[in-house]
Structures are given as C-alpha cells and as structure tokens.
C-alpha cells in the first residue's frame, strides 16, 4: 500500500497576519519598518512634489528626437524605424521559439503589451512615429506567434538571421549601395549608444576567441580604465596606423577602443567557459577521430559559448553603460547629446530633469536585458 505524502497544513493568511509576520515580527524589525516607512514617505513625497511642481519637463519633450536619433536626417527616419522593426520582429520570433512550450499569454507578455500601448498613448510624439510604433508592435506580435509554430531544429538559422539583420541594419543606418549615405558625424543619440555597444560586442567576438590564449594582453587591458583605452584609441591609434588610415573618423576609433576593451573581458569569460568543459569531451571527440581544430570548433567552443551566455549578456550590459564614456571624447551618444542640449542657453541648469530622463532610458535597457536573460536562462535550463 502506498502512503500519499502531502504538504503540511498552512494556516490561513490574512493581510494582518502577513503584516505581523513580515513587518513587525520582533521589536527591532518594528523599528526598522517604521524608519524605512519614514524614509520612503519623505523621499517619495519630496520627489513627487519636485516632479510635479519644480521640474520643467519641456526640455525633454522639446528634444525627444535629439535624445533618440540625434541629428539623423528627418527624411531618412524610415530607415531607423525599419531597422528597429527588423530587430524587434526577429526578437519576437526568437522569443516565441524559445517559450513555445509555455502557455500562449504569460503575464510578462501581457504586461509588456499594456506598457507599450500606454507608451504610445502617453508620449507627446508625432503621428507618423505612433503609427510606426504600432506597426512594429503588430509585426513583433505576429513574429512571436509565428515563432511558436517553428520546427525545433531551426535555431542555427535564427543565429544566421541575427547576423544578417546586423549587416542589413548597418547598411540601413550608414547608407551606401543605393541608399543615401549618412556620414558618421551625424550618428548620435540613443541610436549611436546602441550602435557602438552592439558593434563593440559583436566585433570583439573573433578577437575574444583568439585572444583567449594571450594572457599579457588580457591582463594589461583589464588593469587599465576604459577611459585610458579610449584615450589610446582616439589619440594614439592614429600614430600606429599607416598614413592612409590616419584620419579614421572619431566614431570608428571609438568602436575600435571599445572592441579592444571588451575583447579582453570576453576572452576572460570564454576562457572560463573553456575550463568548464569536462576533459571527457575532448577525449571523446578525439576518439571519434576529429582533428584538433575540429575538436575545438565543433565540440568545445559551442559548449563553452553556451555556458558563458549569461556572462556575455552581463558584459553587454556593462558595455552599454560604458558607451557613456564616449561623451568625454566628443561623441554625441545619449550622454553626449544631453550634455550638448544642456549647453543651450534656454535650458541652462535643468540638469536633474535631463539626467533623470536619460538615466531612466539606460535603466530600462539594462534592467530589461538582465531580466530577460535571467528568464531565458531558466527556460533553457528547464527544456
């Protein structure tokens, strides 16, 4: 006979019970709760009264375009929208593909949709922008639904699609090959922030894999502050290049600096991943008759890269935050463009509003990415 095991009976929880248990369990907890409550009430009330009465938000509303795309030509905005649409629809497909086993409408997705609709309704933006946002949202939802129907062996194609989107987007933003070219000195705002961060991590991959073996380089770069590396890239890189490359433009030099920097950290992460591969994998691959380069390429690297995905996402978040340092070298990315807006005489001294706004933008990206990556990690481990 089998005895059924059951959970111990839980006492009924009322709100009062909950408060007693979680806030006032002991005398020092009660004091802590009261102190925290006082801090929260004081902080929130003074912050809200500042937001509502003292702060002047015209500076944000008037410069919304500058914050997002900077001085990108207005008639070419469709290219930025298309690039964004490509990324989000592919992201929708991938998301749907990864969570295809869970129920259709999870709470996260509902929250996301609600936030999106609210954003469209609330933001003081022009009509065409609202339409674009709506169209992109619909396409990504369709992509999400389509992604759920994809056969399970499609993932190499999705990876390839990301590579393709990266190249197409560079073409859309930079122009050339039949499109009007947009010179790098008008790339600015959030667009430039994202572009430099993505280029920095993508281009450092080949270096990161190769340099997983060169210790001196890693140790020197990791011992230096990023600002020093960027100084090196802006001031000294031209000295190390042949004369015909001497006037490499500022954005490319900045990306070179970011790649130099992030390659060292990436190499360190990948080395960690390589060490996590059991020896048996090398030996089994060898016993199957694979040559050493193939062992690394087909067996070891794919496993190592998969093991370090969380670390790489963390590194990308770090890099996105670090792109703000480019503003110290005269680039007009998100931080740089807000400093140039603050330098305009009619907006003098409105530091708090602008820094809070772009801080919120950075926060949304970084927090969103880390939450999404934690969620995906859980999903991938379960399946």
């Amino acid at each position: 006979m089998q005895i059924q095991s059951s959970a111990p009976p839980t006492p009924p929880t009322s709100p009062l019970n909950w408060v007693q248990k979680n806030l006032f369990s002991t005398w020092y907890n009660s004091i802590l709760t009261l102190v925290c409550l006082a801090v929260i009430v004081w902080g929130l009330s003074s912050f809200i009264s500042w937001v509502v009465s003292t702060a002047q938000w015209e500076i944000v509303g008037a410069n919304l375009r500058l914050f997002f795309v900077g001085r990108f030509p207005h008639e070419l905005y469709w290219r930025v929208w298309t690039a964004l649409g490509l990324i989000l629809s592919l992201a929708g497909i991938c998301w749907g593909y990864i969570v295809r086993k869970s129920p259709l409408f999870s709470r996260t997705i509902l929250f996301g949709l609600g936030a999106l609709i609210a954003a469209i309704l609330l933001l003081p933006i022009e009509l065409s922008a609202r339409l674009w946002i709506l169209a992109i949202a619909i396409i990504s939802i369709v992509g999400y639904a389509a992604g759920r129907k994809l056969p399970p062996n499609i993932s190499p194609w999705l990876t390839a699609a990301w590579g393709l989107v990266f190249i197409v987007n560079l073409w859309l933003i930079g122009g050339g090959l039949g499109l009007t070219s947009v010179p790098t000195n008008v790339w600015s705002g959030l667009l430039l922030t994202l572009l430099t961060a993505i280029c920095g991590i993508v281009l450092s991959f080949p270096f990161g894999v190769v340099r997983a073996f060169s210790i001196l380089y890693i140790e020197v770069v990791r011992g230096l502050p990023l600002i020093g590396i960027l100084f090196l890239a802006q001031v000294m890189l031209p000295l190390f290049l042949p004369p015909y490359l001497r006037n490499l433009d500022r954005v490319l030099r900045a990306i070179a600096g970011l790649v130099l920097f992030s390659a060292a950290y990436l190499a360190e992460n990948i080395r960690g991943g390589l060490q996590a591969i059991p020896r048996g994998q090398f030996e089994a691959a060898k016993a199957l008759g694979l040559s050493p380069p193939l062992v690394v390429l087909l067996i070891v690297l794919p496993q190592a890269l998969k093991a370090v995905i969380p670390a790489i996402v963390g590194q990308f978040i770090g890099l996105l935050k670090d792109t703000s340092l480019l503003s110290l070298f005269g680039l007009l990315e998100l931080t740089g463009i807000s400093r140039s807006i603050l330098a305009q005489p009619q907006f003098l001294g409105r530091y708090a509003e602008v820094y809070l706004f772009i801080g919120l933008l950075y926060w949304l990206f970084c927090y969103g990415m880390s939450t999404a990556s934690r969620y995906l990690e859980r999903k991938l481990n379960v399946s």
């Binding site: 979680n22 802590l32 040559s291 050493p292």
Partner: protein, 406 residues
C-alpha cells in the same frame, strides 16, 4: 611507359612514398599542430608588432615628435584645484602628476572603505526577513547598478552638490556639518601635544586586543569554555587608554567645528563638491555590486550549516560570526577583489566632474605637451601598479580565509 624510364621511377618512388607517408604521419600528429599553431601565432604577433612599430616611428618622424621622459622636469604652469601636498604652477609636470596620484589614492582608499560598508549593509538587508527592508535594499541595488556611473557622477555633481545653496546660506546638519554649493564642511580633529604617546599606546592596545581575541577564540573552540572575547579585547584597549591618559593628562585631539559667520564658514574639514560627487558616485555604484556579491556569498552557504549550528545551541550572532561568515568569505572575496579593482579604475572618471586625479592631470599634461605615447605609458604604469597592489593584498587575504587542508 618506356623501359629506360623505369629505373628512374623505381629509384624515386620509394623515397617519395616514404616522404609522403612521413608527411601524413606528421599531419596527423597533435604535437605537430600544437607547435605549428604556436609558431604561426607567434610569427603573426611579431609581424603585427613590427608593422605597428614601423608605422609609429614613421608617423612620429613625420610629425616631428621625439620620445623621452625629459618633459617631466619642465615647469607645468597650470594650477591644480585641490592638493594634499604643497603645489604651485611653478612646479614640474612630474610633481603635478604626483599630486594627482595622491588625490587619486585619497578617493580610492576612502571609496573602498565606504563601498565595503554600504555593500555589506545592503547585501545583508537584501536577505532580511523584514519585507520592507528587503524590498528597499533590492530597489537600491537594481536602480544604481543599471545606470552608467558617468551619468550618476554628472547627476551628483551638477544636480546635487553644485545645486546646494551658496555659502551665505548653508544647510546645517545638527549644527556640526554644513552643506554648501562651495563644498561640504565636516567637524575635524586636530592633534594636541600628547598625540604621539596616545598613538603608540593605542596601537599596542589594539594589537594585544587582537591577540587576546584570537587566544580566547581558540580556548572557546578547543576547550569548550566561555570565550568572553569582547571583554578581553575591550579590557586591553581600555587599559591602553587609561595608561595614556595617566601619562599625558590630556585627550589627544581637539575638536575643530566649522563655524558659520556672515557668508563664511571657518574651521572644520572642507571637502570640495568635485570630491564629494566623485566619492558619492563611486561608493553608491560599487556598493550596489558589492551588495549583490555579499548576498550571493551568504546564500552559497548551505542551509544545513545554519541548522547544524543552531542544533549545537549557538546564538544567532555567533552562528553568523563563527559558521556562516567564514564560509561565505571564501565565495565573496574573489569577486569582491574585482569590484575593488573596478572602483580604482573608475576613479579615473574624476575628469568628468573636474576632480584633479592622476588621469586628469596626465591628460592636461598631454594637452600642453602633446606627448601622447609617454603620457599613455605613465597612465598605464600607474593603474597597473594600483591594480596589482590591490589584487596582491586581496589574494593574500583570500589565501588566509581558504580551507586549510592537510
């Protein structure tokens, strides 16, 4: 095939076949590929460095720049906002950079101490069973970790510290400290005549307190007697203080309170808005990372350790001190070291708020002299030395907390 060619073929064939077999054997040999790969990589690196060096010398010749550190002795002729050691514009570039280095060290050492304290507090608060405290700590970590440090520095400097009311109208904190847009004034202490004797005796007291603490800890663990560590240690320090007081018949310091009088504040310790903004930004940013590390470290100690310690009858603070923390430290210290290194490196962002640290002074030197290569080498050397020192000290400490196996 004609008959007169046959001998030649016969003569060649075994050799080519032999060579071919040998080559095949070689190509299938792992060791050959390992050595060949190393050799090729080495060659590529050498070629790359040679190319870069060639370009460098060519470009420097074209621009008419000479390499050398002799410029360090030339008069700097720029002023530095705040200095610890005396400095004026007639001093040399070398001295200016040294002044910057001391400023850097000041902010890094203070930052490391404060970031550790804040990180510990918020890390433990994240595990609190008080819901409000725990949520507040999580919010602190998630907000400050996900916003760029540079932006936080701009915020603290431009929106907070420069925005404080002017010196005519300061914000007073308990009548002892003053917040103004020209700086923050703290009470400070000044040494009196007997301070030397006090210092020596206090040091002796502290050293003996540590020795007594360890000895009583051993007694407690090995013989199962009451440790009374706190009483022994306190007794040692109080004894030292009593002896010092009897010898000097005075206290070793005089309190120097800042005094606000008609649009001026005198006395006390003045911290510039630049220094305050940099310190606040660095401490808050780094402590949000340290809080995560502390939380993960404490969570990494298996639950059974808590339960076993409780079953042995230890009190909660003893459990933390003798069972959990020693084990958590093993997990905490390596990532903590890398956060300390990050703080030291991030202090170079001082240039964004105009605090004259070593990077700021070096980059001013570069702007005036145009010596890019030498200035870069100096910056590299400074930061590599700082990083190596921190990681050396932390590695020594790490070794002392690791499990000692036989």
């Amino acid at each position: 095939m004609s008959s007169d060619q046959l001998p030649i073929t016969n003569y060649l064939l075994p050799i080519t076949h032999y060579h071919y077999m040998k080559l095949q054997k070689l190509l299938r040999d792992d060791r050959f590929w390992q050595i060949a790969g190393q050799a090729i990589a080495f060659l590529l690196v050498v070629i790359l460095i040679a190319l870069l060096w060639d370009n460098l010398t060519y470009n420097l010749r074209q621009l008419g720049i000479q390499l050398g550190f002799d410029f360090l002795g030339v008069q700097a002729s720029f002023d530095i906002g705040e200095t610890v050691i005396p400095y004026d514009p007639s001093n040399s570039y070398g001295q200016a950079i040294f002044v910057g280095l001391i400023n850097s060290l000041r902010v890094v050492v203070l930052g490391l101490i404060l970031a550790t304290i804040f990180g510990l507090i918020f890390g433990i608060a994240q595990l609190s069973d008080n819901w409000l405290v725990q949520r507040l700590a999580v919010a602190y970590v998630e907000i400050f970790r996900n916003v760029p440090l540079l932006l936080q520095l701009f915020f603290w400097y431009f929106a907070v510290f420069l925005n404080l009311p002017g010196i005519e109208n300061p914000i007073a904190l308990f009548g002892a400290a003053y917040l103004t847009g020209q700086g923050v004034f703290f009470p400070w202490i000044e040494a009196t005549a007997g301070a030397g004797i006090w210092l020596v005796l206090l040091l002796v007291g502290i050293v003996s307190a540590i020795a007594l603490w360890r000895w009583r800890g051993r007694v407690m663990v090995e013989r199962g007697r009451a440790g009374n560590q706190i009483w022994y240690a306190l007794g040692s320090i109080l004894g030292a203080i009593a002896i010092a007081f009897i010898l000097t018949r005075s206290i070793p310091f005089r309190l120097n309170l800042p005094q606000a009088t008609q649009g001026q504040i005198e006395g006390g310790l003045r911290l510039s808005p630049e220094f305050c903004a940099l310190l606040a930004g660095l401490v808050i940013y780094t402590s949000s990372y340290i809080a995560e590390i502390v939380r993960a470290g404490i969570l990494a100690v298996p639950k059974g350790q808590w339960e076993a310690a409780r079953a042995l009858g230890l009190k909660p603070n003893r459990i933390m001190q003798m069972v959990i923390l020693p084990q958590a430290l093993r997990v905490i210290i390596p990532p903590l070291t890398s956060q300390y290194l990050n703080l030291a490196k991030n202090s170079s962002l001082a240039i964004a708020v105009g605090f004259p640290d070593v990077y700021f002074v070096a980059s001013t030197t570069f702007n005036q002299t145009g010596r890019a290569v030498e200035v870069m080498l100096l910056i590299m050397m400074t930061y590599l030395t700082t990083s190596l020192t921190i990681s050396l000290v932390m590695n020594l400490y790490n070794r002392s907390v690791q499990i000692k196996e036989r």
